[in-house]
Symmetry: C2
Subunit: 267 residues, 2 copies
């Protein structure tokens, strides 16, 4: 189905804008993603938008044509609208020429396949959607299986997280769980839980990482609760040469994940 929308007050515009709000996303089980590159990554990973929104006056592009054909063939909806309305939908001043509405994925632990990779990222109470998206992007880069979100984290399907993930929301598996459910799940199979810590820790460089290795980072301001650190199989310490004794959560996770990648590939 194809149609054109020219008015800001159109109900579809209101619906699309509402997906920037977590409450509406949860009710609809849908999320927004924007940009030709990101939507192409999604398509190539088997995720097609249910609704494709394209700006009038956009430059033609073979990848956009491919996307449009695929959505059309799958029975999805195709909408053309003005760049102004698209900007209002995505909340970005210089919007990309295309956005899509996707069905949210199953984010239960049961849906994860831990044999998929030797590295997994785990974040506890990560509150910043930019950090969350950045961790997804890092996970993609190190070939991680996915990101497990423990306790109250930012919403992985928020526009900001999806944007910061640069498409990795479609390549990484994502799970959401309480700590009390995560630990038993982890114990059901093989898996080494590793955290950066100052407590009874070994240097992160060359530490005995084993696959599948679950790299755990804590909340941006409070770090990990002591009991969570103590539950880890391995605690590692990273050099801190300055005044502060901490790194940005997504940065700490990335430095550690690259070290784990190197350690596992050397075996």
């Amino acid at each position: 189905m194809r149609r054109e929308i020219t008015g800001f007050s159109n109900p579809t515009v209101k619906y699309l804008r509402s997906l920037r709000d977590k409450k509406h996303r949860k009710r609809e089980q849908r999320f927004l993603a924007e940009g030709l590159r990101l939507l192409t990554d999604a398509r190539e990973c088997g995720h097609l938008p249910q609704m494709l929104v394209m700006a009038t006056g956009r430059d033609p592009h073979p990848l956009l044509d491919a996307l449009e054909s695929a959505v059309d063939a799958a029975g999805g909806e195709i909408i053309e609208t003005t760049p102004d309305i698209l900007a209002k939908i995505t909340g970005k001043d210089n919007p990309q020429a295309v956005a899509g509405v996707f069905a949210e994925f199953d984010t239960s632990l049961a849906a994860l396949d831990r044999t998929r990779s030797g590295i997994w990222l785990v974040a506890q109470a990560l509150r910043d959607p930019g950090n969350l998206g950045t961790m997804l992007r890092t996970g993609d880069a190190v070939g991680a299986g996915g990101l497990i979100l423990i306790d109250d984290c930012a919403d992985p399907f928020s526009v900001e997280a999806v944007r910061a993930s640069m498409g990795a929301i479609f390549t990484q598996q994502v799970a959401q769980a309480r700590w009390d459910d995560f630990l038993p799940w982890l114990g059901e199979g093989s898996g080494q839980l590793v955290a950066a810590s100052l407590r009874d820790a070994v240097p992160y460089r060359g530490a005995p990482y084993t696959a599948p290795c679950f790299v755990l980072v804590g909340n941006e301001s409070r770090g990990l609760p002591e009991e969570y650190e103590l539950a880890c199989d391995l605690r590692v310490t990273m050099p801190m040469r300055g005044r502060a004794d901490s790194l940005n959560a997504a940065v700490a996770g990335a430095v550690l994940a690259y070290e784990v990648l190197d350690g596992l590939e050397r075996r």
Copy 2:
């Protein structure tokens, strides 16, 4: 001098709010920083605010007393105001109980002391103030000398960058320069310029880093211009195991900086 402000329309409130705007910051050569921990870091690094703004009804704290005494002794201004007005000044819903106005530093290359550290971070056209602040924070953690901002970067004195730096704006030297001025400056002394690249590059792990090592990262969406990469003394490549071939700029800089730190400390 000490006074109380109770009205939103007070000229000092307007002045303080205006410092969230780059144009006003540049004219006044002043910037805002918030939070007791950050202001304490500043004090311990020899930076006192010219104006200290405290919320009425705040919890007492010995570090806040120390800050207040130091500002008073230095002839600075001390202002008490309501939490609502402080929130309006900092633009944050849950403001810290204290904020300060600082004089901007000299950010010329001439003010840098390259013998200060074996590691320096360099960012080209870094547009996101959160990434910029995160790089400052990483620089502090690896014991870098500072951050050199090439071409049109975000403003290191913006509220967002200062906040993300977690105080590192006061521990790291910061310079702003055009590429055409940076390269000759670099050539005036010793210094190895290193970039992550796919062009004629060696693995980043165990690469021959030498101090002082200048770790260069490029713009968030375009990366480094080819000519900048070619001007580097060393090009290194980082594993990319996923679909995407890139990392968040601040993350890439951090993974590389930790590798450089390890390499230099092994010598």
